[in-house]
Point group: C2
Chain length 208, copies 2
Amino acid sequence: MPKLVDHQARRCHIAAALLRVTEREGMEAVSVRTVAAEAGCSVGAVQRYFRSKDEMLHFALRSVVESARRRMDGIRLGGPDGMTFAGALRAAILQSLPLDTTRLGEARVWAAFYAKAAVQPDFAEVIAELHREALGNLGRALRYARSTGELGPGQDPQALARLILVIIDGLMWAILMDPGLDVAAAASDADAVPQLAALDAALGLIAP
Amino acid sequence: MPKLVDHQARRCHIAAALLRVTEREGMEAVSVRTVAAEAGCSVGAVQRYFRSKDEMLHFALRSVVESARRRMDGIRLGGPDGMTFAGALRAAILQSLPLDTTRLGEARVWAAFYAKAAVQPDFAEVIAELHREALGNLGRALRYARSTGELGPGQDPQALARLILVIIDGLMWAILMDPGLDVAAAASDADAVPQLAALDAALGLIAP
DNA sequence: TCGTATTTAATACGACTGTACCTGCATACC
DNA sequence: GGTATGCAGGTACAGTCGTATTAAATACGA
């Protein structure tokens, strides 16, 4: 038996390189060669771990979906943690927004995959599944909040969950499209981001 | 004097071809050749009207921004037109969403330009300017609505305008990412689009 | 009708694309 | 130790990319 390599780890390593290229120069700059260079290996190497460029892109998408899922699972809205429901919700949303350099990079990657999904249904399906899952999680949390009285009884938790996810996506783009955004200031002080006025307006309406 | 052609019209013709290609196959499929083929002319022809591919893309972006601006200017929220404020607002937002095939195509084009703007600041600037203009228009309309009492006095019109624009963008993506969307049904009956539950939740909070 | 300026088409160029193949190399079993 | 097997790198190929340059066709003013 010859040398054995951890295939999965290699694939992740190459996918990470692909995401770095995407974050820096967009998905149009992603080619087998640029990714190989970024990953510090040869073209032949990435070809062994991915049969085709398309398979590589699919794997990369699944990896970002996976990390988003992990982040999502780490969020707890209900629960006894000395915080108001509105505050916890706001914190959870802020956590999902590109307010520092690393999350800004991740958002740029998402932007590229979103655009690809707009014309490629199989990509859209993967994203839609994550979205359904997020909808379920958030809806469950909101139902719990309503049961404890933290959320008004007149509000439909499922529709509200939809609304919050829509706002998160919309805010992501609004922040991404703002060329004058000061990321350094945003990371320390959320009030330096004028786009978040929309978020506070929404939260003020939801949980006054 | 030799043959004279309407340069501006030619540029628009070619830009329209570029947008058709983008709508169908995404921006990665846009090349000087594919656009020339779609426009029914030679590569040399598009090269005369656009010095470079980048200039062509800029012109195309400006043309979609221009048409979005025109659509926006056609929207009137305040005014005596036998409609409640909330109803007029809802209608205006629905008009901006990809709920039929033509607007779905336009949304796909927007998706592509959004993604490009995420990594190319000069594109982002053009979009940001349109966004600022929309913010101003909507803010004005909301201030007027508040002055007539149709909007509660406790709400900040500017923040609310931001929120509505964020929701429009977020809804656009939510609809675009849904592979199971029945466009035919959506065009005739907005209730066939589950994503719009988010919109109604928001409107219920804003103008109850 | 001629001349000329403008539009067109076609081609050439170097660089880059995705993919296929092929050569060494290091390893682990017989 | 020999050898077969999985891995890495390199190269080749047929296309396509954006752009520059060329020659032909066109249409108007004189």
